[in-house]
């Protein structure tokens, strides 16, 4: 793992991979959006609104996956003090927020025509909302410190505490929901999903995944470049302060 602790080696690798992931992303989005918005069948109950699913469901997957990435990166950061793990965790957080927000917004837009309301305190909606709050707290903690090292440590601890807590929150919200709302809301379809809808969904899921990887690499590179600029600026100031 420490092979990639060297930022220069990571940057070389990232520069090599990134065009490919970007190309894969564009290809998947192209095919996926065509399949999802044009070629896939309409739902016999929901008509065209079912197409929101192809945007909504992958966003929900990625919202959780991104938190998992942050948690793993934080663990690596705490245990091995791997310098790139902090960069990765920090770079992933805003992407996760974006996925979570997309999930909530499209879910709300989907809920209006199908459930007749923008928002219900449904178990899944509620736990995604709490996830959004945790993301925001995590990012706020990152930006609260002037000292980057300190911010990285604190954020990593918080990410792990959140990772321990997320299943508990998920469970408690499910429990609370069954307590308060005996299935009064019409839920989508049956447990099975038609293959004609599964394929576009899978392609869209891949597109989201490649989007995540591409943007993560971009953000990590930008972060490393910013750190180098800062260090260079500091050196320049130090050089000026030395009496001639």
């Amino acid at each position: 793992m420490h092979r990639f602790a060297n930022p220069a080696r990571f940057l070389r690798l990232a520069r090599l991979i990134q065009p490919w992931t970007a190309a894969a992303m564009f290809a998947c989005f192209g095919v996926g959006l065509y399949l999802a918005l044009v070629a896939s069948p309409i739902d016999y109950l929901q008509r065209d609104t079912v197409r929101i699913m192809y945007i909504h469901v992958p966003a929900a997957w990625m919202a959780m996956q991104t938190y998992a990435v942050i948690a793993v990166a934080s663990l690596v950061s705490i245990v091995w003090r791997h310098p790139l793990a902090d960069v990765a965790a920090r770079a992933a957080a805003p992407i996760g927020v974006a996925f979570t927000a997309i999930c909530l917004i499209t879910g709300s837009l989907w809920g209006k025509p199908t459930w007749g309301t923008w928002w219900v305190w449904d178990a899944r909606l509620t736990s995604v909302l709490v996830l959004l709050f945790i993301y925001m707290g995590y990012m706020a903690l990152w930006s609260a410190f002037d000292d980057r090292q300190r911010a990285a440590r604190a954020a990593a601890v918080l990410a792990l505490v959140g990772a321990v807590n997320l299943p508990i929150i998920k469970f408690s919200v499910d429990w609370w929901n069954t307590l308060h709302q005996p299935a009064s809301i019409l839920r989508r379809g049956g447990p099975t999903i038609d293959p004609s809808m599964l394929k576009p969904l899978a392609v869209m899921g891949l597109a989201y995944l490649f989007f995540f990887i591409t943007v993560l690499l971009m953000r990590m590179r930008a972060d490393l470049a910013a750190q180098r600029l800062e260090a260079a600026a500091e050196r320049r100031v130090m050089a000026q302060e030395v009496p001639a």
Binding site: V130, I134, L141, A154, L158, V161, S172, V173, W175
Partner: protein, 214 residues
């Protein structure tokens, strides 16, 4: 560690500020609800438990900012560490002290809050039991957030942002205790949530303190 705990309690007694302010805050928040939702006794009785829990949660947040901050500023924290006390022990003592000085007085005030909100007398015991079982988790989570934000100028608001989402399970199970059907299950889950919080938080808070002193 015990000496640190007694020191904390003595300090809280001498300063006599944090805990009392939290209590007054708790009562004010509780009494705001009748103004906001109307004074009808049935409405108030319906929401009483939830209101008391939310008010207790908010009141617990108030004193968190000062949990480690003064000791970090005047160097006490470093002294304690050089004297061989582990970060984990310091964090544990602080969390216990926070519970004793903030949550315990709140517990004693719950009957008063319940009367103000016209909660049925039968529910007082369950409300107090839920708070007694749940507030240690709030102190523990709060201790972690306080340790992570030591040294920040505006740590208080950040602490709230970090604590509140993590306190959701405690709130759910604590209020669930009053449900006639799910009460027993809620009691067990509340206890489990508190145990998890208590067992994880000293280590997480210690990691936060260690990062602060590095």
């Amino acid at each position: 560690m015990l000496r640190l705990l007694t020191r904390e309690l003595r300090l809280a007694w001498v300063e006599r500020s944090g805990g009392a302010i939290a209590l007054i805050f708790f009562l004010i928040v509780v009494s705001l609800f009748p103004f906001a939702v109307g004074p009808q006794p049935q409405v108030l009785a319906r929401i009483a438990a939830g209101v008391v829990w939310v008010a207790a949660l908010l009141a617990c947040l108030l004193s968190l900012e000062r949990l480690f901050q003064p000791d970090a500023e005047d160097g006490t924290l470093e002294q304690l560490v050089t004297h061989g006390l582990s970060f984990e022990a310091i964090a544990t003592a602080k969390i216990i002290a926070h519970w004793l000085t903030t949550a315990l007085p709140l517990l004693l005030l719950t009957p008063l809050a319940a009367i103000l909100l016209n909660a049925p007398a039968a529910s007082w015991g369950l409300l107090a039991a839920g708070l007694a079982l749940g507030t240690p988790a709030l102190s523990a989570i709060g201790g972690v957030a306080a340790a992570l934000t030591v040294g920040l100028r505006r740590g208080g608001i950040l602490i709230s942002l970090l604590v509140l989402p993590l306190a959701v399970p405690t709130l759910i199970f604590g209020v669930g205790l009053l449900d006639p059907l799910a009460g027993v299950a809620a009691l067990k889950w509340l206890a489990a949530t508190t145990l998890v919080a208590l067992s994880v938080s000293p280590f997480a808070a210690a990691a936060g303190l260690r990062a602060a002193l590095e």
